[in-house]
Amino acid sequence: MTHLDLLLLVALINLPVAWWLAGGATRRRLLALPYGLMLGMLLYMDPGATWDSGLSWVFLGQSLSWRLDGLGWFFALPTIGAALAAAAYSSGEWGEDFAGAGGSMGWLQLALAANVFAMLVLLAAGDLLTLFIGWELVSWAGLPLMVLAGGAAVGAGIRYITYAMGGGMAVLLGVVLVYVWTGSLVPADFMAVLPTLASWQVGLLVALFFGGFGVKMALLPFHLWQAPAYGLSVGPAAAFLGAISSRMGLFAMALVLVKFITLERLVDLTVIPGLLDSRDVLAWVAAFTIILPTYTALKQNDARLLLAWHGIGQGGYMVLGLVMGDAMGSAGGLLHVFNYATNQAVLLLAVFAVMHRTGTADLNRMGGLIVRMPLSFLALLIGIIGLAGLPPMNGFVSKWLVYRSLVLEGEPLLFLAAIIGTLGTILSVYKLIHNIFLGQLRVEHEDIREAPWSMTGPMLVLCAVIVVTGTMPGLVLGVVADAQQAIGLAVPDYHLGGVTSPAGGLDMLWLNGVIMAGFAVGAVLFYGFGGRTKRVHQLDNYAGGHFLTADVRYQYSDNFYPGLMHHIGGWYRGSFQWLEGALISVVDLLATALRGFYHQAQPAAWVLFTITLGFAWAVLP
C-alpha cells in the first residue's frame, strides 16, 4: 500500500468515523483529528515527487489509475486545511447549537468527509477517466453540504446540481471525444496524438473543458448558482465550500488545458484572426468574472452572499493568472488559490460566528459589534485586507504576481479589469466590516458575547497563516513551483520573501517590515505624545445640529455608495438572470408541448402518420 493509498484510505474511513464522532457532544471535540492526521500525511509526502497509487485496474478497456503530483498536492493542502478548520469550528458550541436546533451534525460531518475524499480522488486522478470520475464525485458531494440548511438552500442546491451536471456533461463529451480521436485516455498516450488533431477539434475540446470546468469555478456566464449555493449553507459547510470547493475547477483546468492541451496550442487557435486567440478569450472570460460578480457583491445586503459573490470574482484572478501562463502570472493564479482559501475561510467563519451570536447576517441589522466581539472583528479585518489584496496580507502577493504578469505581457485592459475588481472589492468589504462591526451598536446586541474559543480558535489560526504567508510567501511559492513544474510551466525566481525579477521584484519581508515599523512609528506618535484620550459613549458625538439616539438608525448599506450607484446602478440589469429565466421558459414551453403530445385524444393517428412517413422515406430515393 503506497502513501497515496494510505491517504485515500484514511479519507475514506473518515466517512463513518466523522459520522460517529458527530453523534455525541464529547466525541465531537475530536472531529478535527482525522483531518489533522490527513494534513500530517500530506505534509509528509514531498510535493516535488509523484506519488503513485497501488490501485489501478482495467475496465471497459480503460485503465484507471491514480497518482498525486505537485499540482494535486498543492490543491490538496487547502482542501484538507479548510476541512480541518471547518471541523474544528463545528466541534464545540456551534455543533451543539446546530444539533439543538434540529440540524443533523452526522450528515454535516459525513458530507464534509465525503467532500474531502471526493476531492482527493479527483486531485489524484491519473488519467482522464479517473479525472471525470473524481469530477462527478466532487460535484455530487457538494450537494448535501449545500442543502443541509434547508429552506432556500435546497433550491440553491438544486440549481447548483443542474448547472454542475451541465458542466459535467460538457466534460464527459470532451473526455469521450479525446478517447475517440486519440484512442486513449492515458495522458502519455493521448498527449502524443493531440498535436496532430485539427484546429476545430482542439477548439471544441477547449470549449468543452473550459466551459465544463468553468461551471464549477462559476465563470461567466455560468456564475449564477454559486453565491446562494455556498452562502446559504450552514457555517462550517459554507466556509469549506467557499474556500476550496469551486477551485477544483481550476485544478482540472490547469491539468487539461495547461498540461494536456498546452497554452501554446491555445494561442495557436485563432478566434478572430490577428486580434483574438482562444487564450485571450479565456482571459477575458476571467476578467469579466472578476468584475461583474465583484460588483454584484457590492450590492448584497446579506454578509454571506456578499462574501460568496466575492468568491466568484476571486476565481477570475486565478484563471486570469493561470492562462497568462508565464512564470509570474501562473504562480500568482495558483498562489491565489491558497491565499484566497485562507481569506475566505476566515471571513465566512467570522461572519457565521457573528450570525451565531446575533442570529442574522443582514448587514442592515447589525453594527458596532467590535466592542462585543473583538476577536471576530480582528479575524474579519485580516480577512478583508487579504481578500482586497492589500499588503501586508497574503492576498496581496498573489494579486501582485498577477498584475505584474499582466504588465509584463502588455495587457492594459486586462490589467485595468483586475484593478477595477480589486477596487470594487475594497469598497464592498469596507461595507461588510463597517455594517457589522463599526458604527452604532444596536440596543438588541448590548448583551452579546464573543464567540467561543472553538470558533475563534480556527479563525485566529487561519489569520496567523494569512499573515505568515503574507510575510513569507516563499513558504507557499515553493509548493506552487512544484505545481507549476507538474504542468510544465516556467517557475519564477522565488525566495522566502517573494520573487526577484530584472523588471521589478517583490520582497514582502522588507515590505511588511517597513509597514510594521511604520505602524510602530505611528503608534509611538499617537500614544507617546499629546494629551490622554478619553473614551466616550457611542452616542456622545457631533451630529451637526441633530441629536442621535439609539433608535435613530443610520445603517444605509441598502445604498451605501449612492454616488457610485448613480453611475453604475443602471448597469445591474440582471441580464444573466434574464437569460437563465428565458432558457427555463423555453424548456418549459417545449415540455408543455410534449406533455400535450402525450395527452392528445387521437394517439392512433400518430401511428398511421409515422408509418406513412416511414413508407415515404423508404420508397423515395
Binding site: F59, I133, M169, A170, L173, L590, P603, T610, G614
Partner: protein, 490 residues
Amino acid sequence: MMAYAVALPLVAAFLLPVLHNASRWLGILVGPAALVAVLLVVFQSWQPAVLPFAMDLGGFAPPWGITFYVDALALLFCGAVALMTLLLWPRDEGDGDADALVRRRSLTLLLAAAAAGLALSGDLFNIYVFYELAAVASYGLAAERGTPAAYAAAFRYLMLSALGSVIALAGIAIIYFETGTLNLAHLSLLAGELQGPTGMAAFLCLLVGFGVKAELFPVNAWVPEVYGVTTRRTAGLLAGLVSKLAVLVLVRLLVLVFPQEGLRDALLLLGVLGLIGGELAAWKARDMTRMLAFSSIGQLGLVFVAFSLPGTAGLVAGIVVAVHHMVLKPGLFLLAGQWGGGLRGLAGAARRAPLAGLLFVLFALSLVGLPPLPGFWAKFLVLTGLAGQGGGLGWLAMVAILVATVLEVSYLFRLAGRLYSRGDDEVPAAATGGGTVTAGVFGALVVAAVVFAPALWDEVQDMGAGAGDAALYVRTVGPMVPTMISGGAP
C-alpha cells in the same frame, strides 16, 4: 429444457384459478414456484460451452414447428423475466377482492410466459403470437384497478397496441411474401432479398408495430396514462421488462435480417426524439408516477440510440443500457407506489422513510450516470459509440443525451429536494414496507453491479459478440431447417 421457461408460467397461469379454488395455499404458491423453476432452468442452461443452441418445440421441424434460439442474451432476458416477475409479483393490496388478485396473478404469469417466448423465439410468426399474448395480458393488467380512469387508459393502450399489431402483421406479411419464410435464420440467409424499399418498408412496419410496446416515439402516447393508473408493480413490469423484450425483437431483426445503414439512422432519430421528448415531458410532470413514466420513455429512447450503433459495440451498449433501466425503473416505480400521488404531497416523505429516500437517491444517481454507478458506464459506452460513428445524426444524439441528462438531474433532484424538505409532518407515509424491501433488492443489484463490474463487463462483451454474430445464428439454427439445407426458397 428451455421450453419450460415458456411452458411453466403458461401452464401455471391457466392452473392458478383452478388451484386457487382447490386450496388457498396452492393458489398462492403455484405462481412463484413456476417462476423459481424457470430461474433454475435458466441457471442450469447458462453454460458457455453449450451456448448458443437451438431447439424445436414439439418435435415439429421448422418451418412448421416453433424454433427456439438460446444464446446468452436470450437467457439473460429469460432469467430477467422470471426474476422481475417474481420481485414484482402482485401482492394482496388489501382491497379484499380475492378473485381480482387471482386474475392479476394469472395475467402476470401469462405475461411472463409471453415475454420468455419473445426472448427465445426464432421465427417471426411465433414472435407475433407471443407479442399478442403479451399484449392481451397487459391490457388486463392495465385495467386491473377497475376505475374509470384505468379503463380509459387501458382502452387507449388497446387501441394503439391493436393498430400496432396490425401494422406489424402487415410487415410480417410483406416479409413472407418477399422471401417465403419467417424463420429468422433462414431470413438471415435471404437478407439480400429485403435490401430494397420493400424490405425497408417491412422493417418500418415491424418497428412501428413492436415500437408501440417498446415505448418508441411517437407511438407511445399510451405510456403515461397506463403507468399512471395501474399498480406500480405492473408499471414496473411493463416499463422495465416488456418494453425491453419488444426492443430485443427489433434488435434481433436488425442484426439478422436488416443490416441496412438507413434503418439504423431511423432508429437513431426516433430514439433521440423519444429521449428528448420523454425527458422534457418528465421535467414538467406533476406527479411522481407520470414523471417516471415519461422518464421511462426517455430511457427507452436511449436504448434505441444504443442499439442503433453498428457492430458489437452497439449491442453491448444497448444491453448495458437496457438492463440498467430494467433494474432501476421497477425500483423507482415501487418507491412511487410507496409514496404515491402528486409531487406536492411528497414534501418530507424521505425524512419519514429514510431507507426509501436513500434508495431513491441511489436510483436517481445511477440513472443520471454518477460514476462508478452502472448508469455512467452505460452512458459512456453509448457516447463513445456515437462519437466513434460521427455524422450529423451522431452528434445530434450526443448532444441530446447530454442535454437529457441535465434535464433528468433537474427534475429528479427537484423531487429529491422535496422528499427531503422539512414538510408538514402530520401526514405520515403509508407504511407498507414491502415495496421498499423489493426496491431494496433492486438497489442491491445496482450496488452489486458496481462491485462485480469487471466480471459483468466480460460477460456482456461475450453476450454482445454472440448476439451480433448472424453467421453463428444461421449455423446454429440451420440444421433444423430442412428448407435451408436444401438452400432454396420453398
